[in-house]
Structures are given as structure tokens and as C-alpha cells.
Symmetry: C4
Subunit: 256 residues, 4 copies
């Protein structure tokens, strides 16, 4: 088995923008783009499989099984703005070469559908959290647009790790522009508030109206978990484990 996209449906789109939200830091991208899929009632039209995804399968609510995968959804813009291709999934690739291979495969699929702009969504870790959306781009104009929509430019030198970064880097070879939107987060728990912050910038940038109230219940839940954990962590800090995020990392990092 190779890294490959399996098409479920033939779709022709109008100057579509690819928005990527695979699981990463605090699941910000996964939560944001996953919410978009639901809010826009986007339709799945392809799946990406790879031997670089982890070697397990996932059991769904009815005891059915499937491989970890990426899922491509499309949404036809009823107004004159661009159509969307939304990418969410279960995992990122597990090795260096795997990351390059999956990112290349995603971009080739995007190019086939006429994508000229790629937007990746993720989390930006800061010790104190924060509510800003940090952006970086391969293209000055796109960067300015993101700033106008409310983002702040990333400080230089900071690496953007994983597919959210690689997709941008690789567009340089593919006649596409790309933008990265990263929501500030403390990073040790799934962070729907950071996801909402990113979605505000993203929807403004794309000229799409989305009702974000559906995320508020998730935000309240996350706040309660955070509160509970802050009590527990006093004890854990004695062993230093909590700082390194060993507990939450793997549990939330792969399966959604």
C-alpha cells in the first residue's frame, strides 16, 4: 500500500481553496476545520490513506473498523466567493519522509482540482495561552489579507512543525500560494476556544458567514476540564511530568 487518495465522487469546483485541519497542537486545526465541515454541511468526496499513518485501526460507534485516514470534503459557495476543499482526519504521518510524502500527495490532489490557495490551520503554543491568531505565508498579499482579517504576523525564526507547515513550504514548487493560521493555545488540552478564534479570522478572510455558537458548548466543557486539571496538577508538578505533557499528548494527539 502506498500513500494515495481514493476518490469517492467526481467533483468539479470553482477556483477552490484547500483548508487543512489534521490533528496537531491542541487539536486546534482539527476542531476548527471539523466544525466548518459540519456547519457548512460539506460533503466527503475523497479519502487519503498512507502506510505512514500509525499502524492501528479505529472502531466507530457501531463496532465497525477502519484505517486511520485523511478525509477531503467539498463545499460549493452559493455566493461569488471560492468553493472550499476541507481536509480533516485521524492522524499525521509518523516519520520525516512520511510527512513529506503525505503533504505532497495532498497538494497533488489539490492541484488536480484547480486549487491555487492553500490555508492550513493549527495551534500556536504559548505558556500563557492567549487569543491571538498568528499567521505566516508564502505570499505577501495573502499575509496582508490575513492581517486585515485579524491575524498577527508570526515572529521570525519560529518553526511550524508538521503538515500545517510542510504544505506551505511545498507550495513553493507548485504554483500555489499558501497561508497558515495558528490559534494561540497553552497546548496541553484540545482547545476549542483557539479553534473559534482561528475560525473568526478564516471566515472573514474567505468572506463566508459561519455561526460559531456551536463551539461554545465545547468551550465550556474544555474550561471545566481545565479547572479540574489545574487542581490535580499541583500534585503532579512535583514529579515534573505534567509540564512535559506526557499525559495528554498521546491521548488526544492521534484519534479524534
Amino acid at each position: 500500500m502506498r500513500t494515495e487518495v481514493r476518490k469517492l465522487k467526481k467533483v468539479k469546483l470553482r477556483s477552490p481553496v484547500l483548508v487543512e485541519g489534521l490533528p496537531g497542537m491542541a487539536l486546534v486545526g482539527r476542531l476548527a476545520v471539523g466544525y466548518l465541515v459540519e456547519a457548512l454541511r460539506a460533503e466527503k468526496f475523497a479519502e487519503l490513506y498512507s502506510p505512514h499513518f500509525p499502524y492501528y485501526v479505529i472502531v466507530d460507534d457501531e463496532g465497525r473498523i477502519r484505517l486511520p485516514r485523511g478525509e477531503f470534503y467539498y463545499w460549493r459557495n452559493p455566493d461569488k466567493g471560492p468553493d472550499l476543499i476541507l481536509l480533516i482526519g485521524d492522524s499525521q504521518a509518523q516519520t520525516n519522509e512520511g510527512q513529506y510524502e503525505v503533504a505532497t500527495c495532498v497538494l497533488e490532489f489539490a492541484r488536480e482540482h484547480g486549487v491555487k490557495t492553500v490555508i492550513t490551520v493549527g495551534g500556536y503554543r504559548t505558556d500563557s495561552g492567549g487569543s491571538r491568531v498568528v499567521c505566516a505565508s508564502t505570499n505577501r498579499k495573502l499575509l496582508v489579507k490575513a492581517v486585515e482579517a485579524g491575524a498577527v504576523i508570526s515572529p521570525p525564526g519560529s518553526p511550524i512543525v508538521g503538515i500545517a507547515g510542510l504544505l506551505l513550504g511545498l507550495t513553493n514548487f507548485m504554483d500555489m500560494d499558501a497561508l497558515c493560521l495558528l490559534g494561540e493555545t497553552k497546548g496541553h488540552l484540545p482547545d476549542p476556544r483557539a479553534a473559534k478564534n482561528v475560525l473568526k479570522v478564516l471566515s472573514k478572510l474567505l468572506g463566508i458567514e459561519v455561526d460559531f455558537r456551536g463551539l461554545d458548548e465545547s468551550i465550556r466543557k474544555a474550561d471545566r476540564i481545565e479547572e479540574l486539571l489545574s487542581e490535580v496538577e499541583v500534585g503532579e508538578l512535583l514529579t515534573g511530568e505534567a509540564r512535559e505533557g506526557k499525559r495528554t499528548g498521546p491521548r488526544y494527539g492521534y484519534i479524534v
Copy 2:
């Protein structure tokens, strides 16, 4: 050397079911399917070799040497039920890509022999052990059959790691159905009792009569080891190592 099946004998089978039991969690699958091979007097007809198996060789009782490998056995059903292909072996692949490659190779071999149904057998770790058999499937009908034979449906979200899971996930691309039967186990020692529990469900599901009394001596031995260890572990718990299973994991995990 590539991952490949070496055929020892040409065999034509009647709508065979593949039952996989490579070493994994508490060796449940290896013990169960290995017992089946003996009880049914199944005959070996092929071996699987791979550079993704660990780089050592195994010395047998007479000082002879061989590579780690998978072994395919066949059994002709004297009644009207399906024939069986039984897969046991020394090890699983050691890397992510290796796991995908070996699982794909197994399924291609199965397809050549007309297999339409794959059943994988393994252990399901719970802190308190238990005697249930957990199932998951790519196919609703197969799942119902497993439940009728005494299994309970797996809770959603729990990943099934290794070849027992991957074989199921990959059948989605191969016009086969697949079922996974996992015996509950504490998971830190080879667990013949869990193997017996799985075999009860499996034999009922397949409509095959197997005498399980041969496993009872192994179960008694395992109980004695468990007892002895439970005394030792009081001391070890002070260092925390026993919980993580560092001691027993690698020793039993690879060679059988």
C-alpha cells in the same frame, strides 16, 4: 530480500476463512491460533518472510537455525463449513511501514486462495482482566454473528494496534470482510485463559468442534506464575516498573 510468501505446497481450498494469530498483547492470538493448529492437526503450506521482522534468527531444539517468519497452515473442513487458513508466527513487523507491508502481503496471499472472510485474534487489555471477548468488524452481519457466538461489541474510539487491526482496515480495499476477536486480559503475561475464551467464541462462530481441555494445563501454570508474581510485585511497585510491564513485555513479545 522483500516481504514475501514462500509456498511449500500447492493447496486448493473451499471458501476458506483466514484466522490470524501472530504474537501480540499477552500472546492471546498466538496461543489461541497455535492451539487450533495443533488441535485440528492443520498442515503448514506456506511461510512469510520479511526484512521488517527483527534482525535475529531463532535456534530450535536441535541447534538448527531459522529466520523469524509467519506460518500459514490449512485445514480441510470435513463437514460443510468453511476450510481454514491459520496464520501464526514469531513476530510482528517492527516499523509502521513494515506493518502495512506485511499485512498487505498476508491479504494478497489470502485472496489468491479465495478467502472472503478474515478473522484476527488478540488480547484486549483491561486493568482488572475479565473473561469477555470483545469484537469489532468491517461488516455488520459478521459483527452480529460474533455477538451471537458470545462476543461483546468493542467500545467506540479504542484503537486496535498491530496486524490484528491492520488486516481488518485493509480488507476494505479488497472485497473481503473481516472480524476481530479480542480476549480480555491484564496483558502483562501470556494469557492462555483469554486464549481459551476467544477460542470458544471462534469455534462457535465457525461451527467447528474443538476440545479445549488441552489448554487447561497451560492455564493452571499461568495461574501459578501470576500468584508468584503478585507476591514479588509488592516490592517492585515501589519503583513503579512493574506497572509499565517493562519486565515481561519484550521477553514474551517476540519469540514463541
Copy 3:
């Protein structure tokens, strides 16, 4: 994506010498060759990309993004000496095979441009630092030249790790000669003084005049940091971590 050189400009050079300075021990090579690029106003004419570089992208001063890469610069010698190809970049390959692949790709590019001599630059770790430049070569004559230029011959048996070493080893198959110049360094911080020491030998060897005063400010800064750290480290030595360089290694090792 494969490991590949992307040419920005077609350039014909006169018996050019390749000088490699990718990031490694104490960044000595990166600092030395990077300084040479600036001091000689060398011009970039090609970039090397590889899926073996780490899977992140780098944000520059203006929020723009790019993949980690190697950069080839050329410099035309106004005198009768050889032209230069200078290689600097963000990272070395992350795996064993990746290191071989990137090094081979560099040498093939060099060969295309008629390179017959390769010089790699790096750091040589000693507990007490030191100001010597250690050399080793695939060719006796080149070694003698380096010694005449002020270097001392490397003690036998010591391995030269990474691309600075591999490039030399691989030239044996490519009708090229190669020399390695390693500046002594304590190795736990970027070391511009070691870089200056190497440059003195290198410039003498190549018969090029370079003004090294531009490095003196960096040296003063590094000295101040060293001083500050020496106070802090008294405490850290109690845990033994400082000795192993765990703290500074990754921080400085990859991004420049």
C-alpha cells in the same frame, strides 16, 4: 518529493572548490562558511531540498515561509586561484540513509560544475576547547597543504560524524579529493571563535584574502554568554545534564 537540487541560475565556474558548512557541532561550519558568503558577496545559484530534512518550515523576518534547505553560492575568483561553491543551510538529514542521500546529491551537483576538490568545515569537540584546527583528508597532498596553512593532523580513530565526514568518504568513489577542517571547540554553544580559526586556515589554503574582523563582535557576544552560563552551570552540574549538552544541542543544532 525526492532529495534534489533546484537551480536558480546557470553558472560556469573555473575549477571550483566546494566548501561545505551545514549546521553541526557548535555551528562552526555554518558560522565560518556563512561568514565567507557575506564577506565575499557570493551569489546564490541553487538550493537543495530533501524529505530527510526535518518536517517543519521556517518563518523569515517578514512572516514568509520556506522549507529547510541547503543553499549553494558561487564566487568568481578575481585572481588566478580557484572559484568557490559555498554550501550552507538550515539542517542536516535526520536519518542514516538520509545523510548518505543528501551527501551524494551534493557531490553530484559539484561534479556537474567541475569540482575536483571538496573542503568541509566543522567543529572538533574537546573538553577544554582550544584554538587549533584539526584536519583529515582523502589525499596526502591536500593534507600537507592544510598543515602548511596551519592545521594539525587529526588523531587516528576519531570518527567525523555527519555530512562533513560523509562528503569526504564518498569522494573516494567520484574522482575528487577532499579535506576536512575542524575547529576545536567546547561544543556546547555556537562558537564564532572556532569559526574564525578555521577561516584563517581555509583562506590561507585557498589563497584568498578575507577580513575576519566582522566576526569579532560575534566572538565578544559568545564570550559574554559563556560567562553567564558558567555561573548558571554550577547549579546544573548537580543533575549532570549540562555535561551531556541536552539543553543547547537541539536549540542551536537545526535552525540558523
Copy 4:
């Protein structure tokens, strides 16, 4: 660069036996076969290179540089016994697949030269050392011969790790027989005494007369180091590091 043998000289041999002694446990194989190369004045006729060897180069006594490699030597038997191909080198492959690839490459080279018998030499770790030579084989007759020459048959179930094992396992597919001779050793230091023990069995088995006195000086040195270390280790045992061989492993494991 691929794993490949580079031939230095065309050689035709009379039913040669391949004897492998790459560095491994306590360097027993490397010391034994290296001694044989010198004692028999065998001549080098080929080298094996691989991107699976570690990514560094080695500096020789005169400041010259080369990649890690395997070296094939041949020796023409003046009597009616078999000629020999002796394999020594700097390192084993660093990954699972690399181990399989290098071992396969060695056997293909051997087959080209008409090799029908492969003997691998290494160390066999026991807590108390010992002076026995443990053997295992793919062939009953060869095993009996080794026992007649003084070896004892390996206990079943014990894995033989690395190329000394893989070469045996892989001959099963290549119309060759293979034998493994492992000298008992405590395993935490290079062990010339174990090497001598193996050589006694090997020379008897091959019907070759070799003067082993040249190893006695090395044995005396090793004994002195052992003595010194036994005093030091009392202190180190407090941290438990000495047991795991962290200190000596890497230093002796790769470069000889």
C-alpha cells in the same frame, strides 16, 4: 548510494568457505577473523559499502579518511582443504531493513564465488563468562562437525542477533549451509580470549593450522583492563550504569 560490493581484484577460488567476523558482542568475531586475516596473510579483494552503516567517516593513522565498510579477504589453501573468504569491517547496519540488505548483499557476493558454506563468528553473553564455544547451524552434518571440533550445541530458543544470525537464516533460500560459532564472554569488553577459543574450534573444523600465540598479548592486556575495571565498578554499580554496558558499548561497538 546503495549497499554494494566494490571489487578490487578478480579472484577465482576453490570451493571457498565464507567466514564472517563483523563487530558485535565483545568484538569476538572481529578479533577472531581479524586475527585470521593477519595470521594467514590473506589478501583484500573487495569492499562492501552501505548507506545503512553509520553516517560518519574514519580517520586512519595518517590522517586519511574513509567510509565505514566491510572488507573481503581471500586465502588460498596450500593443502587440499577449502580456500577462505574472510569478512571483517567497521560496523553492522543500523536498522532492521539495513541488516537484511547487507546480509543479502554479502551472500550474493559469496554465491558469485562459489561459496557453499558460511561460518559466522561472534560472542555469546553469559553473566559468568566461560570458555565454551556455542554453535548452531542450518545443517545437521555441519553441526555435528562443529561439535566434533569442540563446540557445544546452543540451547534452543535463544536468538542470535545481527549479521552473525541473519547470514545463517538467509542461506536457507540460497543453496548454502551455514554454521555459527559463538565464544562465551561476559560481553562488556573486547574479549580476545573468547576470540581465541572460537579460533581453536574454527581452525580444527577447517583443518587449518594457525598459531594463536599472537593473541596472548591481547589477552593479557584485556585481563589487566578487566582487573582495573573491577575495582572501579564497585563505585559505578551504585548507579547501575556499569551493568547496562553504557560506557563500553558504543566506544568499542563500531570502530575497530
